[in-house]
């Protein structure tokens, strides 16, 4: 009931138009201002808004020789069905920015399939970045399913965001898993898993045609700990048991063999088993901290597809 019923849409429209004139038309902000009848500052704000809101996507159309080499080496060494290596952004800069557009492209490739696919999704910053970088496409023929519980300990919806935002962008039916990643007792877990809704989502996830996951490290900055699912003491104990990394909450050792931990009985999500070419599992991960975890997951074939950045790729191959 505001004075401008379409204030948000129309301001995004303006922003998109300004950005179009700026990036596609190559006009200066001054020219945009007079073209659209605005002050220069407003034009500047609109362009900046369009970029910030992700209305504008920039993609690189050139395969850097170094990245292609690394891709080929990774493909061969780990028998990958898909592999993309993007340029690094230099030390101290978030590698998610770099890999998100490429991950989005991989997802778009899957979404462009005519036939219906079941797409399973993990959680995490990298996947979140992927979804943000994705261009909206109508792909209602596919089904999106969550691999693991989407409820964080603090009750926030942050774990829902990957699947919900993706579903919104592609208008596909989606099956989040409205339970915590990890519950307190084995009994609780059994109770949850006996629920029809949970069983259905788990069944769908197990039958996924393609899976996109992040990869978590098990060093002292492990996502499982920073998100509060493990205490530092528990983490240290698991580290002593040989933990190298984690996919969808399931922890594996340095060779990518899942560990037989008491914790497992309290995980609500499904475990990603060794990937096959017909049912690929694409890992989206980059950063020095993740090298060990990535290498292990690649070695045993928990993932058989990879989107990463240059320094990470080099480190995985070097090690």
């Amino acid at each position: 009931m505001s004075m401008t019923p379409d204030s948000d849409a129309s301001i995004d429209d303006q922003a998109a138009r300004a950005a179009w004139l700026y990036y596609v038309g190559g006009l200066t902000q001054d020219q945009i201002a007079s073209e659209m009848g605005l002050s220069r500052q407003r034009a500047q704000r609109l362009v900046s808004r369009a970029v910030g809101a992700g209305l504008i996507h920039v993609r690189l159309n050139h395969h850097l020789a170094r990245c292609v080499e690394l891709e080929a080496a990774l493909r061969e060494r780990f028998r990958l069905v898909r592999c993309r290596v993007m340029p690094g952004l230099g030390p101290g800069r978030d590698p998610v920015r770099s890999i998100a557009p490429a991950a989005a492209e991989e997802m778009e490739r899957v979404l462009a399939e005519r036939g219906s696919r079941v797409i399973a999704l993990g959680t995490g910053r990298a996947l979140r970045g992927m979804v943000d970088a994705l261009s909206p496409v109508e792909a209602p023929q596919h089904r999106l399913v969550s691999l693991l519980g989407n409820i964080a300990l603090d009750g926030s919806a942050s774990y829902f965001e990957v699947i919900m935002r993706l579903a919104e962008k592609v208008r596909a039916p989606h099956y989040p898993m409205p339970v915590p990643v990890l519950v307190d007792t084995v009994e609780e877990n059994l109770t949850l898993q006996s629920l029809g809704a949970v069983r259905k989502v788990r069944g769908l996830a197990q039958a996924a045609d393609v899976t996109f996951v992040g990869v978590g490290q098990m060093s002292d900055d492990a996502p499982l700990m920073t998100d509060g699912f493990l205490t530092l003491d528990e983490l240290h104990e698991i580290q002593r048991a040989g933990a190298a990394g984690e996919v969808a909450g399931w922890i594996y050792d340095g060779e990518g063999r899942y560990l037989d931990l008491a914790l497992n009985a309290r995980l609500t999500g499904v475990r990603v088993e060794i990937a096959t070419p017909e049912r690929p599992v694409i890992g989206i991960a980059a950063g020095a901290a993740k090298v060990v975890a990535l290498k292990a997951a690649l070695t045993s074939g928990i993932v058989n597809g990879l989107v990463t950045d240059e320094p990470t790729a080099a480190a995985v191959l070097a090690g």
Copy 2:
């Protein structure tokens, strides 16, 4: 055998990397310079080179309300199977810049098909822009075929560029038509058309699954004339016969009915017949000069798909 065997590739690599850091990483040119160990000017030049060489693509992820409206109106009025309307860039600016990315997206949609398709191509600046804006994809399952002769009067290869560059980008088999658009006599035309190579290309073009064409105006700045295929006198005569526009060299009247001209017997290419939903013909065209030609082609259904810009769409609907 130059000192730097990869000078061009490596400079493009550098340019791509600089542009990546600039647009994706959000670094300033100063930061790029120190990151890559260059002078600031060099970083600036690399970024600018990357943009100029089309190494970087910018896309808008927001459907402007006004454009969506125009698309819906065009779709309904002319029973189009595909329609994209892109924002205009303001008077005096080349509309090809605006429509090329959208045309490229339409082409990418076709190229993403798993099955093999025959894609027929016209010529012209708009299609050339489309190919430039296309991201390279491997699509060797499709065949690209030219609708009309690819030899210009001055013998230049400019008419080959659309199909050759596209073929290079997607690595698909391609069938250009190595004859002039227009020959001097009917006999010459019969001779050419009896050649096996020409027959084969024409046959393939007639069986195309999808066709992309530009649309030529028949006003005094008609492409057929500026390219030297018609003299001004001939043009005026054809104008008096009711010419409104031209697709692949074949001239039609204000209702989109092909004209029965003496000229026709000297055209070497195939005529695009009324499009069907199964075998769509996508017109790529924008600009005030093309409004009449476009409207006629849309009216009779010579094209049943359209990529244009806002002012052109509005003018076509208004008239």
